[in-house]
């Protein structure tokens, strides 16, 4: 205050002053000046405004009751209870979202591991993706329950909560880098080397599980050195972009790969290999829906509307997008997948047939059960269409003739 230039505009003005909480600059007479509320008090919202009136006579406004100069800080904690309530609603929404995600992902993983005949490289990548989602949701849940809802832990600031934050950032990276791995795999399979031999998955594992350590560690080091707040909870820092930047880059690269795949499929393969291109289109469509959906939160994150109502709507939408992702991914990649649905239907028919056999021990039912099992055996190769399309070109199996016969039939998914 003392260092600033003296007032050089003409007219009456109120002198610069310190009111005990904030500094106020020279203000022209008859105006109301404002600045952001201080953050010294826990229930003060530093995005709200504090105001001070400079009267016509060049004196600061005095409160009529005490006749002392008075600044208006009432807005700083006026909405605090409402905001607290909304924060709790969002918090519980997040917990429910992650719990649902974990449940649906575990079911999907169980399906993938149980139906061994579904197994192929793409499904292996799905399994890794789902595992990363489960771990991410689990860590987020732990972080939310143990740290965010626990002000005394934040106050004590143990090293454990920073370690937890580090792992949280790592799993977040793993999540999105596995999406990138899926995109690269599909791209290599379709665009680069059409219907090629099996790829080596080592590099995918490295990119999906190993590489996210790099941004997470850099973030931890930068946070420790430059923005070491309690438990690293604050989101007001641009250092978060150390983790979010690579994730956005991965999503953009993924989007580019997927668009390229769609281009290739539409132009080159549609006329020649109709069945396969249809198959791949459906696989690509699923990934193409998910990538923008998963990434959009990182793009629109900074632009929260100023308006109160719009801001609340924005918060709800963002939270749904963020926390229910696992559920969405499990639904689109597993529950809506035709192969999985067919495998489940087959299993259901099998159980029904076995149940029927047990109930009525007829000779006729026994023969029915034989035909039922033989029906279930053969379609197993039908459902390898998507994953093991390389079998069509390269390897010779005894079931080839059956494959060809059945290929002319339905399309799946």
């Amino acid at each position: 205050m003392n260092r600033d230039q003296p007032y050089n505009k003409s007219g009456l003005y109120c002198n610069r002053t310190w009111d005990g909480w904030l500094c106020w600059d020279d203000t022209p007479a008859g105006t109301v000046t404002w600045q952001n509320c201080p953050n010294y008090f826990p229930d003060f919202d530093s995005t709200e405004k504090a105001t001070k009136i400079c009267s016509e006579s060049g004196q600061w406004f005095r409160h009529p009751d005490t006749n002392r100069t008075w600044s208006n800080y009432t807005l700083c904690n006026f909405h605090t209870t409402g905001k607290l309530k909304m924060a709790y609603i969002l918090y519980y929404m997040a917990i429910v979202g992650h719990a649902l995600s974990i449940a649906s992902l575990l079911i999907s993983l169980a399906i993938f591991f149980y139906f061994r005949n579904l197994s192929c490289q793409r499904i292996t990548l799905h399994k890794n993706l789902f595992v990363s989602y489960v771990l991410n949701s689990a860590l987020t849940l732990i972080y939310l329950i143990a740290v965010v809802n626990n002000p005394d832990v934040v106050g004590r600031n143990p090293v454990g909560c920073k370690v937890l934050h580090f792992f949280h950032m790592y799993m977040l990276g793993c999540n999105y880098f596995w999406m990138l791995c899926e995109g690269i795999y599909l791209h290599t399979l379709i665009v680069v080397a059409v219907f090629a031999e099996e790829q080596h998955l080592h590099w995918y594992y490295l990119l999906g599980w190993g590489f996210p350590l790099v941004p997470a560690s850099i973030h931890a080091v930068a946070r420790k050195k430059y923005f070491d707040d309690n438990c690293w909870m604050s989101v007001e820092t641009h250092l978060l972009y150390v983790v979010h930047g690579p994730i956005m880059a991965a999503l953009l690269v993924n989007l580019f790969f997927l668009l390229n795949i769609v281009r290739v499929l539409v132009t080159k393969l549609r006329d020649t290999h109709r069945a396969e291109s249809n198959m791949y289109m459906k696989a690509v469509r699923a990934t193409l829906i998910l990538v923008p959906l998963l990434g959009i939160q990182f793009v629109i994150f900074p632009w929260r509307p100023e308006n109160r109502l719009a801001g609340e709507v924005y918060d709800y939408i963002m939270h749904i997008l963020m926390h229910y992702q696992g559920l969405l991914v499990a639904t689109i990649f597993c529950f809506f997948n035709g192969e999985v649905q067919a495998a489940l239907k087959r299993q259901w028919i099998q159980y029904k047939a076995q149940w029927g056999q047990r109930r009525r021990d007829h000779c006729s039912m026994r023969s029915t059960s034989y035909t039922a099992t033989s029906i279930t055996e053969v379609p197993a190769f039908m459902y390898h269409h998507d994953c093991n399309s390389e079998h069509l070109n390269g390897r010779h199996t005894s079931e080839d003739s059956e494959l060809v016969a059945l290929k002319t039939g339905e399309t799946y998914a």
């Binding site: 003392n2 310190w18 005990g20 953050n39 010294y40 990138l180 791995c181 690269i184 795999y185 791209h187 290599t188 680069v192 080397a193 090629a196 031999e197 790829q199 080596h200 590099w203 995918y204 490295l206 990119l207 590489f211 790099v214 941004p215 850099i218 930068a222 050195k225 430059y226 923005f227 070491d228 707040d229 604050s234 820092t237 641009h238 250092l239 972009y241 150390v242 983790v243 930047g245 690579p246 880059a249 991965a250 690269v253």
Partner: protein
């Protein structure tokens, strides 16, 4: 030497003040108060800060105690002189102290700030570049592995 005589001197002045203040009006909360805090409180604070190496003046952990005592001292004198606390003289007194002792301390305060752009930039750009490089590497290797069984 001065430190030994100042307590003696200050005791005498304090006695005089206590007697005189009873009959002096509130107007004494201007000039006399200022004189009082300069005499009684500033001396001790100066000594404490001189004991502390000048490089540690900006370290809050080291200066919090003498600073707190100084504040307390001004408060007690205001109480004794029946003046309102805080007041303009105390404000100006502290501004002078800050100008002398704390003028080149950093503005860290309570609010953490992001590092400057020339540090923040590389921290963000380097992981993004490494990501793109790593992606290109994986794409290249997966392209090549199709030749190998």
């Amino acid at each position: 030497m001065a430190s030994e005589t100042t307590p003696v001197l200050s005791k005498q002045v304090l006695l005089w003040l206590v007697v005189a203040c009873q009959s002096v009006s509130v107007m004494a909360c201007g000039g006399t108060y200022e004189y009082a805090i300069e005499e009684f409180c500033l001396g001790k604070f100066r000594l404490d800060m001189e004991e502390l190496d000048q490089h540690h003046w900006c370290s809050w952990e080291d200066t919090v105690e003498p600073y707190g005592e100084l504040t307390n001292c001004t408060y007690l004198i205001a109480l004794k002189m029946d003046c309102f606390w805080p007041n303009r003289q105390v404000d100006e007194f502290f501004i002078r102290i800050h100008k002398h002792y704390f003028h080149d301390c950093s503005l860290s305060g309570r609010q953490l700030r992001d590092p400057p752009n020339h540090i923040l930039g590389p921290f963000i750009v380097v992981p993004i570049l490494v990501t793109l490089l790593m992606t290109a590497l994986v794409v290249w290797r997966s392209k090549r592995s199709e030749g190998i069984v």
